[in-house]
């Protein structure tokens, strides 16, 4: 059977990620699509720890660590610095978590995209501050348990909706915006390859399940990532030249199939699940309307 995927590896074995980590697969796939002429900037996040302690590095391309809020600015500086030396053909990539993107880094991201640098910003979305131990972020979905939305006797789970940063980027009319997930690696790889060919700012949000943070068995990472799309929790779409294209899953599953695998949703009752399902359906219809525009 021929490989459906580039064989070259730019992420190494021996990294320090948790077993079954979705964020490592995100990095692995993104770099496969980009190739060796790339540099990645990483803010405070799991990925600042995954390569392990000095003097180790786990990428075959240069990786620049930066302060939490600085990904957007860092890739701007890398881009202009390389361009000023005639290195326009190198890919400059930010690889930031959802906290570093939806929360503390949003201003810098928005500004970098607005300035129009030829850069790719990848948000690996594991839906909470996993590196610090599962605190809620703006990208944590409605209903989820985290250590700062601990449910308790007052049922204090996360009571606000997930901030979809990709939607914000579309609102800013970023030339290329996409959502992807590691359960569909060929789709992810194609989107990164598409982004690579576009000169200008690009943004890709990759749902990257986290076994300890979402409370599931590490072997289920890929399964959960696929279910997120099929249960309509994380729709896949692509925005290019002002046109939105929404992926319609070949197979759809009830929301419960997705939630029941994860401890972070274990407290939800049928009524609450029903409410979430309605909200997700509403967002799905909204995306379809936008696609028609």
């Amino acid at each position: 059977m021929p490989l459906t995927f580039p064989k070259e590896e730019y992420m190494q074995k021996g990294h320090s990620a948790c077993a079954g980590c979705g964020a490592t697969l995100s990095m692995r796939y993104v770099l496969k699509a980009l190739g060796p002429k790339s540099v990645v900037s990483v803010p405070a996040s799991c990925w600042a720890v995954i390569p392990g302690e000095f003097p180790y590095t786990s990428l075959n391309i240069p990786m620049l660590y930066t302060t939490f809020a600085s990904s957007g600015a860092s890739i701007s500086g890398l881009r202009e610095g390389l361009d000023s030396q005639g290195k326009e053909d190198y890919n400059v990539v930010a690889f930031a978590g959802d906290g570093g993107t939806a929360d503390i880094g949003l201003q810098g991201l928005s500004a970098a995209m607005e300035r129009g640098h030829n850069v790719l910003y990848v948000m690996y979305d594991n839906e909470a501050y996993m590196n610090t131990g599962i605190q809620r972020s703006g990208s944590t979905p409605y209903g989820a348990w985290t250590t700062t939305t601990p449910v308790g006797i007052k049922r204090d789970y996360k009571k606000s909706n997930k901030k979809f940063v990709a939607d914000l980027m579309i609102a800013q009319n970023v030339p290329y915006v996409a959502t992807a997930t590691i359960g569909f690696p060929e789709d992810l790889e194609r989107k990164v390859a598409t982004a690579k060919l576009i000169k200008g700012p690009k943004f890709i949000q990759i749902l990257s399940p986290c076994p300890p943070g979402w409370y599931y068995n590490s072997s289920d990472t890929i399964k959960i990532s696929r279910l997120a799309v099929e249960a309509n929790v994380f729709p896949l779409y692509e925005y290019r030249n002002g046109k939105l294209t929404v992926y319609k899953p070949a197979k759809t599953v009830p929301l419960r199939d997705y939630l029941s695998l994860q401890g972070r949703f274990g407290h939800l009752n049928d009524v609450e699940i029903g409410e979430i399902e309605r909200a997700l359906e509403e967002r799905w219809q909204y995306l379809l309307r936008r696609e028609k525009d």
Partner: protein
């Protein structure tokens, strides 16, 4: 010369087998060499190389690149076993 905080040593030189509580074991007689396990391995701990000495469901598969678990770097997450469409990988508890 000053000490710069730049790390150059590849992590592939590290050994992480102690992280694992169970190990994936491939039953090559069921393995079609589809490489799905390789594709989904978060630890890049499955190598692909042809090895005609391994068994296979039929001779045609023997010539293809076969997955081989790198037990020095496998953390035993079990994704390969979960995703293998031919049930050719089993998770076996480490002693």
């Amino acid at each position: 010369m000053v000490i710069v905080p730049v790390a150059y040593l590849p992590t592939s030189s590290k050994e992480l087998s102690s992280w694992r509580t169970s190990r994936p074991v491939i039953d090559y007689s069921k393995c079609t060499r589809c490489a799905i396990c390789w594709k989904f391995c978060p630890d890049v701990a499955i190598d692909l190389s042809p090895d005609p000495s391994l068994s296979a469901p039929n001779d045609r598969f023997k010539a293809l690149e076969a997955p081989r678990i790198d037990y020095d770097h496998c953390k035993g997450c079990g994704i390969c076993a979960e995703e293998c469409p031919f049930d050719a990988i089993a998770m076996v508890e480490e002693e």
